[in-house]
């Protein structure tokens, strides 16, 4: 099954960061394996209703971090990162995303942390 990328333009996190983190997470978790081809920039931008430049930035950042390589003939392809992924950075992004959603729901810090604990233990 192909992976689904979801962008919420109202969750407080920049759309390019949301797309970047989801792709990086998919690669680090093995959902996207080495050699998997990402869709062309224009296709992904159209599907997500974002500017091509936004997706181009995502691919550029992923390439800089070593997650993907871009070749003219094959397009953008997943590769093995030369170093360990920035797990701390990804955790911060996920936490920011969750915190924004919890605030939207009117939750306070304690109940949000309790929800994380409950999810962690389940």
């Amino acid at each position: 099954m192909p992976l689904r990328i979801v962008v919420d333009t109202e969750n407080g996190l920049a759309p390019w960061r949301q797309v970047h983190d989801q792709i990086a997470r998919a690669i680090s978790s093995g959902g996207l394996t080495e050699g998997a081809r990402l869709p062309p920039i224009r296709q992904l931008a159209r599907d997500l209703g974002l500017a091509s430049g936004t997706i181009a930035r995502v691919y550029r950042e992923l390439e800089t971090a070593g997650w993907v390589v871009t070749a003219r003939a094959r397009g953008t392809v997943v590769t093995t990162p030369p170093a360990l992924p920035d797990q701390a950075g990804m955790l911060r992004s996920a936490a920011a995303e969750f915190a924004a959603r919890a605030q939207d729901l009117g939750a306070d810090v304690e109940s949000a942390v309790d929800a994380v604990r409950a999810a962690w233990d389940s």
Binding site: M1, P2, L3, R4, I5, V6, V7, D8, T9, E10, I23, A26, L32, R37, L38, P39, P40, Q43, L44, R46, D47, L48, G49, L50, G75
Partner: protein, 244 residues
């Protein structure tokens, strides 16, 4: 003044007629389910049916107005077209409606929550190579036949119909994803194949008109190709089938 009144009366009657056709054609849940089932989505759920109904509405909305307007337009423009025939108008209506629907479907998503599949989409994901080759060969034969015989306006119309059908194919692959994956892919597959079939059918209707044996053979072969291409395939392309 009398002429203007006559035109207004004519437009009013045609408008009412168009509205009546629209009411008859307007798709509901049952039609949405049926179209999905025909194109490989067995037992669709509500969100898929909703996508299919919207897909059908986008096309059928245009059909009455195109059906009524297309035969009148060339006369208004003072063009000397071949005698109008019902079959030609049907093909022109379906192709124009499909083209308008696909053009409208190109609008990007503007809602706060947007989704996309991390997968490349290409023409061959929806139409197998043999369909493309068969379509191209049949259309080329029709064009060559027209070029050697009647040519003129018929040739221009055939080229326009073929161009419209291939444009619909490209737009169906290009448009942003909407709704659940398997319904989205199945409907793209339908758009692509039906458009190519209509292109073949329209070209055949314009090209193979002589009363001789080659024309009859050309028409019959084109008709067989049209049916083979525009019908739902027994086996859906891998990506579409995989999604189901």
């Amino acid at each position: 003044m009398h002429s203007l009144g006559g035109w207004l009366g004519f437009a009013f009657i045609m408008g009412l007629f168009g509205l009546a056709i629209l009411i008859v054609l307007w798709p509901g849940e049952r039609q949405g389910k049926r179209v999905l089932a025909r194109w490989g989505v067995a037992e669709p759920f509500d969100a898929e049916i909703e996508v299919a109904v919207r897909y059908l509405k986008r096309r059928r909305f245009w059909y009455p107005w195109l059906w009524l307007g297309l035969p009148v337009l060339p006369r208004l423009a003072g063009l000397d077209l071949p005698e109008s025939n019902t079959l030609g108008t049907i093909f022109a209506t379906l192709l124009s409606g499909g083209l308008l629907a696909e053009l409208l479907a190109q609008r990007p998503s503007r809602g706060p929550r947007r989704e996309a599949l991390l997968e490349q989409r290409g023409i061959l994901d929806f139409v197998p190579a043999w369909v493309l080759i068969l379509t191209g060969a049949t259309e080329l034969a029709a064009i060559v036949n027209l070029g050697f015989s009647v040519a003129g306006v018929r040739l221009v119309l055939a080229v326009a119909a073929i161009a419209a059908s291939w444009l619909i194919l490209l737009l169906a692959v290009r448009r942003p994803a909407t709704g659940p994956e398997r319904a989205d892919l199945a409907l793209r597959c339908r758009s692509a194949r039906v458009a190519l079939g209509l292109g073949v059918g329209a070209a055949a209707g314009l090209a193979w008109i002589g009363g001789n044996l080659p024309s009859m053979l050309g028409f019959v072969v084109s008709l067989a190709v049209f049916i083979a291409i525009a019908s739902p395939p027994g086996k859906l392309p891998a990506k579409t089938a995989h999604a189901g």
